[in-house]
Symmetry: C3
Subunit: 208 residues, 3 copies
């Protein structure tokens, strides 16, 4: 089996998402998570979004069921977290960048897969975003917290912008590798700028 460019960036995204999920379990304020919880939270965070995308598309076999390498990437991410918890916990800034890189990659790959299934543009854009954010949504829901997408600075919206851009450039026949890199970069840039300047979307007040 040969690895393509897509495979390498996909597996990197998986590993980084696992680490971000496993660290969230480790740092959970109310519960002392054991080894299994840490693994399982990392696993769910890494595969949740892609799995939901695949079962919504009927894209069988689901990625991690088809490709064992995904599970090994998760296992490596898990090992790193349990072997070097303090070190990784201090590297939050660096990990934030990895996580952000992860959502950029997931967004464009998810959108690509939806388009390959002949899905309409509107649904493809949503499925790209869902691929990127739903692992984290399931993680937060299982940990009995309001999902971060309802709390944080611009996050899911950055993914939506990226998937819409990817679709537009695809319609305009831009080279796919260039499109992939460009659209993922836009997701990453929006997210980095939003966090640095604490930017959020407008809120609607219904009560005075």
């Amino acid at each position: 089996m040969e690895f393509s460019f897509y495979d390498y960036i996909g597996l990197s995204g998986i590993m980084v998402f696992t680490m971000s999920g496993a660290l969230a379990a480790l740092e959970h304020k109310d519960h002392h998570h054991d080894l299994f919880s840490v693994f399982f939270t990392g696993f769910i965070t890494a595969i949740g979004g892609g799995t939901l995308r695949d079962i919504t598309l009927g894209n069988y076999p689901v990625s991690w069921v088809r490709d064992e390498n995904i599970l090994w990437a998760i296992f490596v991410g898990f090992l790193l977290v349990i072997l070097l918890p303090r070190m990784l916990s201090k590297l939050r800034k660096e990990l934030f960048l990895f996580d952000t890189l992860g959502i950029g990659i997931y967004t464009v790959l998810g959108t690509r897969i939806a388009l390959d299934h002949g899905v309409n543009y509107f649904a493809s854009a949503l499925l790209g975003m869902i691929s990127a954010i739903f692992g984290g949504v399931i993680r937060d829901t299982l940990m009995n917290e309001v999902p971060f997408i309802f709390r944080k600075e611009i996050y899911a919206t950055a993914c939506l912008v990226g998937s819409v851009l990817y679709i537009l450039l695809n319609v305009w026949n831009v080279n796919d590798n260039i499109n992939l890199i460009l659209s993922a970069t836009v997701v990453v840039s929006i997210r980095v700028i939003a966090v640095r300047y604490n930017l959020g979307l407008p809120k609607i007040k219904i009560f005075d």
Copy 2:
């Protein structure tokens, strides 16, 4: 593409469910939801139950992936909520009727789709109910609340009665359009009466 009677009532149900979900996000007591949260909560509420039904049946492509009109109906519902939040928030009584109409429609359409897949009657009745209630269940779970079906007056049970009735009349060869309207009306009537008279199912006390 021509629209059938089924399509029109289905799209109305989608729009109304979106508005009920988006308003729930807007009126959430603890969090100020931004534009994305409001859209996403409406989207999940509108498509959650039907999507779960479709992936349980293996009914691909899932409705909103196949039919972009569903997504535009969601978008219109979302726009109405963000443009007229106060007005809609005051129209709770009217929206309650719409939402109730929505679960009536979802119940019978969901049951119909299950029967069309050759599913046994027991499972078809449950899938009809799941189509109607699960969008709201997912919405409440994501918002970190106990799902309304565990709290409110008779709700899911009204759907179950409606789906069982639809199946019975179907077995007795009643005309399908009549059956659709009659069974949906029964769901709506039970729900309206339950809310007006504050009726619930019996509760079981296990402790004195």
Copy 3:
């Protein structure tokens, strides 16, 4: 339709899981659950893990949609709980054994089904565990609690050990009925010992 050995133990597992879910709803401290809630919680607990396994595998039709007997087993479990709530609530120790038997059975049957679909060993082991634990995870999430797998003594890990053992013995061509019984027994034994001696997995401290 004739029943095989597999069918009998599968249906017993379903009934026991239903009872454990329905009792959890009955004994919920904050909410008085009505008849529907008790049924629905039992239903979700019983079919959640297997349904998630089946839709992840694309194994259609999903078990309870294909086989009405599963729904009748759930109905019997539900009836027992609402007719004899106090008696069953006192029989916790006996029910614990049934529930533990249930996860043993679900684990090996789930692993078997994954292997039959040609799934790699790593994913098969995880899918066996998911079959056993995810009904309970969904139940707890819906009831707005941190899932028991994140709280209790060794639970999911017992399932993982059982599914890995089942796969190993399968590779070594051990007779399948013997393997089934042996691997399920290992799951049950680990769980019973863990509860009796209050054993958990190591926890990782990240803060002093």
